[in-house]
Symmetry: C2
Subunit: 387 residues, 2 copies
């Protein structure tokens, strides 16, 4: 079984960080992760950077060298991109390179700076994750996920209020996270009254546009902190277009990547104590908890509404699993700087498994999972962590 040690993690706050450049954000996350790992920059053998939009929004490519320079490093440095799964893919690539024996200790950085650009530019940039035909049809991601929500509501007799409960839970968790973009409790009524974005998704069903950077130091050898290690890192892809798939209420990439990850980690879905989920929209988390095996088909939104995955509110009787989802606040409340998200999930799970998550600590968390998705499920990256 794979055993990659997570030696140090850090994340900047997420939000509209107009006073901080991408260089400054990246440097902060990387330096703090090194401090957390009690390592010096010179002990890093390679850097893997997850980023989607720096070229399109900031005209900066060559991001491996670009960010390596911030630590004065001249080691191999590689930028990895897979839309909103860029962070997870950067970590996966770093892990595989360690396992290959090329490097011992590497830094995985996720970074995105989105709020310096105009809304149209950002929307256009994000649609680069979709297909030609989706763009030609004029659809954007809220529209694509709204199609999934429509199908989900019809197929499983779920209400819009059930879906809204995902955002309510994640805002409740975000309130407990000092790095979160939104630290404000909301109610189902708030979501219902927040104005249509793409029917049935309202404004508060949607994750925000954010800036932020997150970093993780991983290594073949154990470190100076409480041991947390990655025991599976699996990637799967699917068609780029939603309309090329056989169902709208499940992401096959997530099902395949998570099955493979459970097998490699030697665990079952129901063993997972805490999970960071890619809730770019409320519907995404409802479907994800089903695809990951935490809830039965059609029960995801309802389980979340019943409080089964909320900190300090579970687990009630009759619950299928025992997992708390998105203690960080998820993409919805913590924020979604797209390239950073996959690494921020690792930061959160590591802190949870160390027992250092403060107010948002999941009690006795031993096994954690991260679920990072690109596009509308055209790529999924699953990591499983243990302590």
């Amino acid at each position: 079984m794979m055993k990659i040690n997570v030696l140090g993690v850090a994340t900047t706050e997420f939000g509209e960080l107009w006073k901080k450049s991408p260089r400054a954000l990246a440097k902060q996350a990387m330096e703090e992760a090194l401090v957390d790992a009690k390592l010096k920059a010179g002990e890093i053998d390679a850097l893997f950077v997850g980023n989607m939009l720096a070229g399109m929004l900031g005209n900066q490519a060559n991001l491996g060298s670009f960010f390596a320079e911030e630590l004065g490093l001249k080691v191999p440095a590689i930028r990895v991109e897979g839309a909103c799964a860029s962070g997870g893919l950067a970590l996966n690539t770093g892990i595989n390179s360690i396992l290959g024996g090329q490097y011992k200790t590497v830094l995985a950085l996720g970074i995105e700076k989105m709020t310096d650009s105009g809304q149209d530019e950002v929307t256009t940039g994000l649609m680069a994750a979709g297909s030609d035909s989706e763009r030609m049809a004029g659809v954007t991601f809220p529209g694509i996920y709204a199609l999934m929500a429509q199908a989900y509501i019809q197929e499983y007799k779920v209400s819009e209020k059930d879906l809204a409960a995902v955002s309510v839970k994640n805002h409740y968790h975000g309130l407990l996270n000092e790095k979160a973009q939104f630290r404000k409790e909301i109610t189902i009524d708030d979501v219902m009254n927040s104005g249509n974005v793409a029917d049935p998704l309202k404004l508060l069903d949607c994750s925000p546009i954010s800036d932020g950077a997150s970093a993780a130091v991983i290594s073949l050898t154990s470190g100076k902190r409480k041991s947390v290690y990655i025991t599976a890192s699996e990637v799967a892809t699917d068609t780029l277009s939603l309309h090329d798939r056989s169902t709208f209420v499940s992401l096959s990439s997530v099902v395949r990547a998570s099955k493979s990850a459970y097998k490699k980690a030697g665990i079952d879905a129901l063993d997972v104590d805490v999970a960071e989920i890619h809730d770019c929209f409320s519907i995404a988390e409802a479907i994800a908890v089903e695809d990951l095996g935490f809830s039965k088909r059609g029960q995801g939104a309802k389980d979340i509404k019943a409080g089964k995955m909320t900190l300090g509110k579970g687990p009630p009787a009759g619950r299928q699993g025992k997992v708390i989802t998105n203690p960080s606040g998820g993409l919805k409340a913590c924020g979604h700087p797209v390239g950073a998200t996959g690494i921020k999930q690792i930061v959160e799970i590591t802190q949870q498994l160390r027992g250092e998550a403060g107010q948002r600590q999941v009690k006795n968390a031993k096994i954690g999972l991260t679920h990072n998705v690109g596009g509308s499920g055209s790529v999924a990256v699953i990591h499983i962590l243990k302590n």
Copy 2:
């Protein structure tokens, strides 16, 4: 010692391919590489895509899934970017993932579509490989490499005609390559009279803007063709800006990556029979053959002018090495679709080591090297191949 088998290779023609989309180019290269390997798409475990500009010029990201779809694959698919070294980095990442035990057989694809966009857009896109300060100074890559050329000419008493000989050699080789963008012999006078781009570099000192795709199937296990294998894959980085370096007449990233590659492959520079060099400008190849140890310091351009690295014209007495450089025509004559170049180099060296390079065959070629550079040397990727 590492031993990754190259099972199959293919490249599209390079040039202004206005009738072919990125999807079509990628599909052609990948399918032909599979045919060359005598494998089916279903036997590929993962795809690594090297591309720099698709987001900036074509608003398409998420390129792993995007191109995997062309083969109907739903396997892990990851886009890797490091400016003009994106192709080499994609191969490096694929190799490390194989060595890590995650995959057995992977496809590395390099692809770029540049000629559908306006010249200003392409120039701006390419400058995304440089630094903020270089862009603010208004410099573009011909200007940056012109600074190196000025320093080289002054330091080593080399003439502009000596530098021009690099393009003359590569055009001579390109004439022999049916995939090359330019199949036309040129003379030193042609270069000297071709009009200034950035003094002392003339138009014919500069590689062109190109479209093209190249693919390589690599595997832990040997295949059905004559065995060619990769025995070193090394990456190094440097500062993004030229002005942050201690010298303009050597790229430290190339020196470090090649030293490491020679050591891992258990060979010396003088053992290399054939090399594909990243001659984005004539000066780049002159410096590269010195950084790689094929020529003494200050002798690179002169050795090339003396015909020491030209097919069918060497090796004369007194020559330091025995290497033929850029039998494909290099970036200058074969063309430079930036993300494709690093993989095209692997295609060429594989065909050379198989003895299948036709008119441009280097006799008894046993050891080959590829030299792929991003920016002005902020990243370098060196591969060594043997048969």
